[in-house]
């Protein structure tokens, strides 16, 4: 709930001044900018408030690679690739990779939510 009520978390209905296209998750989707993209669920049809930690579909598909928190963390690699560097989409064929930032750069706004949590175990 702390993550959901954080001002950075958005339920999104539009994109670049237009209504959300189907491929971006129309009619309504979630954006949680400090987490990996698969947590930004698309085409939401139902929201349930539960008192247990639910599983997401990627976690169900491969739990050793996709977790619940999915916070952007350059120091914890995915089992099959590093998360330490990233390339901006649209930067072109010869663009350098840039270092990935902890919490995607939103540490100031969200790091306190995870005080004391082992972010390697709770990936």
């Amino acid at each position: 709930m702390a993550e959901a009520t954080n001002p950075l978390t958005l339920l999104v209905v539009g994109l670049y001044g237009y209504a959300l296209p189907n491929q971006n998750g129309a009619p309504i989707r979630l954006i949680v900018p400090w987490k990996y993209g698969f947590k930004g669920i698309k085409a939401i049809v139902k929201i349930s408030f539960v008192d247990y930690q639910p599983k997401n579909s990627w976690q169900m598909a491969q739990s050793n690679e996709y977790g619940f928190y999915a916070n952007v963390n350059p120091s914890v690699s995915h089992p099959r690739w590093s998360q330490a560097r990233e390339r901006r989409i649209g930067a072109g064929l010869f663009a350098e990779k840039q270092p990935t930032l902890m919490f995607n750069g939103y540490g100031e706004q969200v790091a306190h939510l995870y005080d004391g949590l082992n972010l390697r175990r709770n990936f």
Partner: protein, 205 residues
């Protein structure tokens, strides 16, 4: 297929040019002449070269079964060129990863090769292909004698490692790696059956 000269000077150049088409299409797509590389061009280029490497490995492995089934012995004259194209596509796939994706950052490259099993597998397959490519000439074949054939049976390992590398690379949709695995199984299975049948025939008095 008639004379050796016709194969060497007409058919092999034609096949050579056809085999280059996938690579040319990558370049023309990069300049948006034929198509597009998409939002993630480096991954797209890597994927394409990797896929064609696997395809050429399968095509190369198909030469002997086709030759045996159709009796067209001249097919074997194309086998080395097809194998070298498999090497070309695999090596370019590796170079794209090395130069465009990893940008020659040695620490990231070493981490990938030694800590990501699917990359270790792919890199091993590439090393075998390199060894086969540099020993592909007739001169090398004469120099190495019996060892040459032992080394060049490595194409079986390369096929298996290549499919394995692809299988462990995909996220969830194992459809394409599965198809390659089936093709490889059929091509190797045919060889196994054919060599057993030949042994049985030789055993008969």
């Amino acid at each position: 297929m008639n004379t050796l000269a016709q194969i060497r000077f007409i058919w092999k150049p034609i096949v050579f040019i056809v085999c280059l088409v996938p690579a040319v299409l990558v370049v023309t797509d990069a300049f948006e002449i034929t198509g597009r590389l998409g939002a993630n061009p480096i991954e797209e280029i890597q994927d394409r070269f990797g896929n064609w490497a696997l395809r050429f490995i399968m095509i190369t492995l198909a030469v002997t079964p086709l030759r045996k089934l159709t009796g067209r012995n001249w097919l074997v004259r194309f086998r080395r060129m097809l194998g070298l194209f498999a090497f070309f596509y695999a090596f370019t796939h590796f170079l794209v990863w090395l130069l465009l994706d990893q940008r020659l950052l040695l620490s990231a490259i070493a981490e990938d090769i030694f800590e990501r099993p699917f990359i270790t597998i792919g890199f091993t397959a590439l090393l075998v292909l390199v060894a086969m490519a540099v020993t592909s000439t007739l001169g090398m074949r004469k120099r190495l004698g019996r060892r040459w054939q032992q080394l060049h049976y490595g194409i079986y390992a390369v096929g298996a490692l290549g499919v394995w590398h692809y299988w462990w690379q995909v996220k969830l949709d194992i459809g394409e790696p599965l198809i390659y695995a089936c093709i490889l199984a059929a091509l190797l299975g045919y060889r196994l059956w054919s060599s057993r049948r030949d042994k049985r025939r030789r055993a008969r008095p």
